[in-house]
């Protein structure tokens, strides 16, 4: 990652060849058009330790990602804070998730953001290779961007 230029980071996470899994990347890209002078904008396809390295040193982070809970309609936006992750245990046998990352950073006294806002958009399980967003997610994207703008406007005022 290039050198940090601001104290605020917008981190869009996702896989750009797995359809709706890329929604976080799209949102970060759009937010960058308005906020690139006030925040660092990063699009990434990483997890675990790499996320910790990216977040290190920022004061505030807006993290945007797709999520599969199967409890909400696709396109539903979930707004989460770091504290809500505290009691979630590691969920994957293949990569470290955010809960472990937050706890590890705390344990190791890594210089971590004091404020993290996570915007997750519910999607269908993304197991088909394609580059486009589905119609449901494409139509929900403006609202995701709007919520991101609210957060960033507050942080960079």
């Amino acid at each position: 990652m290039s050198a940090r230029q601001h104290t605020v980071l917008v981190l869009g996470l996702g896989n750009d060849i797995l359809g709706d899994d890329a929604v976080g990347l799209h949102a970060a890209r759009e937010l960058g058009k308005e906020f690139q002078r006030k925040a660092d904008i990063v699009e990434a396809a990483v997890s675990g330790f790499e996320i910790m390295e990216i977040l290190e040193g920022y004061e505030k982070v807006l993290l945007i990602d797709a999520v599969v809970t199967n409890r909400h309609r696709p396109g539903t936006i979930l707004e989460l804070t770091k504290e809500q992750f505290r009691n979630v245990v590691a969920i994957s046998p293949h990569y470290m998730g955010l809960p472990d990352v937050f706890l590890l950073a705390e344990k190791m006294n890594v210089e971590f953001p004091t404020e993290i806002c996570i915007l997750g958009m519910e999607i269908m399980p993304p197991y088909e290779l394609r580059e486009e967003l589905s119609p449901d997610i494409r139509s929900a994207l403006p609202e995701l961007i709007s919520k991101g703008k609210d957060v960033l406007s507050r942080w960079t005022a």
């Binding site: 896989n15 060849i17 899994d21 990483v46 797709a66 599969v68 472990d100 088909e128």
Partner: protein, 486 residues
């Protein structure tokens, strides 16, 4: 026992699912393990220039993009009938070995390894890197983080980008290294070797000195006698990047050794109605169902398999550990699934040593890094060992190098049958008549497949969402009598 037909509609969409069917006596009759399949690969690729594939396929997996990058690059070399010059090949190998050391670090300390370091009976909230730190000390957390940072720095230097590498292309690489870069990489590699030795010591102190852990490793519930597969060099030593694929039988005897372009002569895929994923098996032996033994065509492709098929490691410290492992566990081959964790850290050390050797190779700073292809492109197969198994990329193009066909066998796909078998054995060993199925039992079943470091599709979202594993216990009529979610 009543035969249960599973409607294809119930085939899985989403994360992993295990269905355990009990018979009249409350014992395990059958188990079905389902994981989602990444679909649409060929349709996605057809029509694209083949040289784009090393950059596109890094996106298949956010955890091991380097493996796809290299297998794809090698397939492109074959499509264009060209070989990288020595410096180009060594630069690819250097990147790959550094990646290996980093990837195995993550698995051992954060994913599968905690099962042992913290203990299989520990609460699930502790079976992660935080539990490892609590058990081993804060120092280990710092070292793991530093290991990851250093490997990523080297990968970025050699690969052009940290996560989605771009430098490998047909005939070689696009970027070499100067002496200043080489020197920094050498310093990192020295650190990696020390870290590898540290990790061996951790395993020794926490796992091998604990008799109950060793007994667990050697227990029948986690043992499976099937064929082993892995890449070997010209001296039949473990090699992650290049060589021929060697397969040995359950007794350790060589069954076949094949070049990448011969893979379809050796491997076929079996289809079952209850899962999208296919089961690769050895064609010559045949598909006999989910059973062990010399007459079953099922094979394993894991760190343990790689060490089983090889005659040794190419580097001294890793060789010493290789010898010690086999001496401790009763000789070659070892079929104890949980010994995969030990094999993995031997590979971590071996990869670090190989990377150090390459960083000191006089050709590594050479300027001849690519052979420009001149032949008409046709068809090619590239094989590397991904950390979680033998990875095959197969491309067919037209005369312009535009893809007409593409096929992929990823590491975990090789292991779909053995994982299913491992789960079956663990379930049968743990669930008897009258057993109350608990979270502890779930964990013991999970340990059976966590050792494989399985890749369940490659979405990279990190937020907690749907539980990644659901275990359904069903009665003889197929009704769910208990469900455990993680």
């Amino acid at each position: 026992m009543k035969q249960i037909k599973i409607d294809p509609i119930t085939r899985l969409e989403g994360h992993g699912k295990i269905d355990i069917f009990l018979n009249d006596d409350g014992e395990v009759a059958n188990t079905y393990f389902q994981i989602p399949e990444l679909r649409g690969f060929e349709q996605f690729c057809v029509g694209r220039p083949v040289e784009e594939m090393p950059r596109i396929t890094t996106r298949i997996c956010g955890v091991c993009p380097e493996a796809h990058h290299m297998a794809s690059a090698k397939a492109c070399d074959a499509v264009y009938h060209v070989q990288p010059p020595p410096t180009g090949k060594k630069l690819r190998e250097l990147l790959y070995n550094v990646f290996y050391a980093g990837d195995h670090t993550t698995h051992f300390y954060a994913l599968g390894g905690p099962d042992f370091v913290v203990g299989p009976d520990a609460p699930k909230a502790q079976r992660n890197i935080l539990g490892v730190i609590a058990k081993v000390g804060l120092e280990v957390g710092g070292k793991v983080i530093e290991m990851r940072k250093r490997t990523q720095e080297v990968i970025k230097t050699l690969g052009g980008k940290q996560t989605h590498q771009v430098t490998s292309m047909p005939g070689g690489v696009s970027k070499g290294i100067n002496e200043e870069e080489r020197s920094k990489i050498e310093e990192h590699c020295k650190w990696f070797v020390d870290f590898g030795k540290f990790t061996i010591q951790v395993f020794n102190d926490i796992v091998l000195k604990n008799k109950s852990y060793v007994d667990l490793i050697l227990s029948d519930a986690y043992s499976m006698k099937i064929y082993s597969m892995g890449l070997v060099d010209e001296k039949n030593r473990v090699n992650f990047y290049d060589g021929k694929v060697r397969v040995t039988d359950p007794d350790g005897k060589e069954f076949v050794k094949y070049s990448p372009h011969e893979y379809l002569d050796v491997i076929a895929e079996h289809v079952e109605p209850w899962t999208y994923l296919k089961f690769p098996f050895l064609k010559k032996i045949g598909w006999k169902g989910l059973v062990e033994g010399k007459d079953s065509g099922i094979y394993r492709a894991t760190p343990l398999s790689r060490l089983n098929v090889a005659d040794g490691m190419p580097t001294p410290a890793a060789q010493e550990e290789y010898d010690r492992m086999y001496k401790t566990l009763g000789g070659k081959p070892v079929h104890a699934t949980l010994a995969t964790h030990w094999a993995r850290i031997i590979e971590l050390l071996g990869a670090a040593e190989m990377a150090l050797d390459l960083s000191r190779d006089p050709e590594i700073t050479g300027t001849n890094i690519r052979t420009i292809p001149t032949a008409v492109p046709t068809e090619g197969v590239g094989i590397v060992e991904a950390p979680r198994g033998t990875l095959t990329h197969h491309y067919v193009t037209d005369e312009r190098g535009i893809l007409k066909k593409a096929n992929l066998i990823v590491g975990t796909t090789n292991n779909y049958a053995p994982i299913s078998l491992s789960i079956n054995k663990a379930a049968r060993g743990l669930i008897k008549k009258g057993t109350v199925v608990s979270d502890g039992i779930l964990n013991m079943i999970e340990m059976a497949f966590r050792a494989y470091d399985p890749c369940f599709g490659c979405a990279t979202h990190s937020l907690p969402g749907q539980m990644p594993l659901v275990v359904n216990i069903r009665n003889k009529s197929g009704e769910i009598i208990e469900q455990i979610k993680r």
